[in-house]
Subunit: 302 residues, 2 copies
Amino acid sequence: MHFLVFIIIDKGVAMKIALECFSCFLKQAVEAAEMSTESETMRREILREVLKESLKISFDRTPVHMGMIIHRIVREKTKNPDPYANLKKKYNARALELYPYMKELVGYSKEKLVTAVKLAIAGNILDFGIGGYAKDFGVKEIIDEVLEQPFAVDNYQNFRKALSKADSILYLADNTGEIVFDRVLIEEIPDYKKRITLVVKESPIINDATLEDAEAVGLADQVRVINSGLEAPGTIIDHCSEDFLDALHSADMIISKGQGNYEGLSDLSLPIFFLLKAKCKVIARDLDVKVGDLILKQDSKS
Amino acid sequence: MHFLVFIIIDKGVAMKIALECFSCFLKQAVEAAEMSTESETMRREILREVLKESLKISFDRTPVHMGMIIHRIVREKTKNPDPYANLKKKYNARALELYPYMKELVGYSKEKLVTAVKLAIAGNILDFGIGGYAKDFGVKEIIDEVLEQPFAVDNYQNFRKALSKADSILYLADNTGEIVFDRVLIEEIPDYKKRITLVVKESPIINDATLEDAEAVGLADQVRVINSGLEAPGTIIDHCSEDFLDALHSADMIISKGQGNYEGLSDLSLPIFFLLKAKCKVIARDLDVKVGDLILKQDSKS
């Protein structure tokens, strides 16, 4: 098993922390602190710890790694294991309300798979992690906008081909709420019940989807659900469980949602497709696109 | 002289650093670092120093104080005394192009002084200091919008009265570019050549206006110009020169532009009026207004 791990991480040139990330780290820390405790003293302690960790973190790490550290500090200081619990429920519920609308959109669409892929990316906007991006809940407007928007990185044809051949497909979920949108895409994939394994986070981290959320939105009944062994808002390859790494290595095709998974898995030798919206300058630069662009990117090595 | 200083700072409850300020500090630091040096190593060193200072700074300080520290670090590390020099020239030049348009707006206005005050506040949008706020240069659109917008805090009648009585008026400028807008307001004040003293920063800090800028936009010929003895992006009362404090204390009326001056001078016993646009959550909370609101606030003690 360790041999496999070695092969996977050997070529790892994942998206690394940039100077611009630090203001975002502090914004996240303060938002999480405010959500987790009413004590100003404790909030300040959290800020201090995050500042200290910001001084220690290596620029060879991914932003997601720092996200893991930040939210661990918040949990440990406040003893609140899941500060976003209520908001996550709200997001799942709101997204579920939109589920019939999205099914209709796909149903009426001439290119059902493209529409479903775009919806899955539209769902990626529901994110608390990255500073201030589309927190308002005009999701219907976002959906309509995304459906009109072309892919800035467009490997859709290869995506479709890979999908038609793969016996086993690993689908890496990102956020709560968003997984309802993922459900719409998953249901457009033939034989999804047999072929797809959904990967969620092991334990709560920001608004990332866990098994509980997969159950709440009706996905856990339809596909196998595993977790990555992580409590990070994305994937950190050398912190994942061996079971997950084994699944990652043996899958014929991987569909990776969101920025946090991209950060940790880009430039690995995997048959992977990244579906995301570029939400900040750092990832836009990495992908050579503009902030707000839609991405359906096949890993160059896949 | 020290006795005067004591009287002024005695009641000081200036706007203090809030948790949300820290992400903004790092954003400013990184932007200034990127503008000042091409060396990634040096940029990282600047970030490290700013993180260390963020750990040390007292929450009893104002955001402006941290701004002073940040930009001192950038200058010392990069040996670049004025990284914003070119941009400042550009902003002055661009604002000067709008000067005839603004004079016309005032000329045609029924309430010339109100229009001039609003223009002076519209100019306050030209700021690099506060994260990402209106950096694009659609200034004409901003002007039109601001002229339509009511004051959220409206002490205009008292402002007008104070203006009619004051023998000596101290006008605290804020930014480059913006001082062209200030010129429009100043020129609407009767006897401005005799009554007004313009206060600029002693040396370059971000895009704040200095004597050179007052000269560049034609204000130095028209009114007396002094400096605050500061290299901070605002006013820090216990770091100002005694000459400035003397002027501050002896003026019949003080017109203070922008957030940085408000942060340091709010809640002092001065006959002061603050003209600004609330550019971030922290100041909006302090003023009990919304981000983006126009403020013409008389100090409650004046």
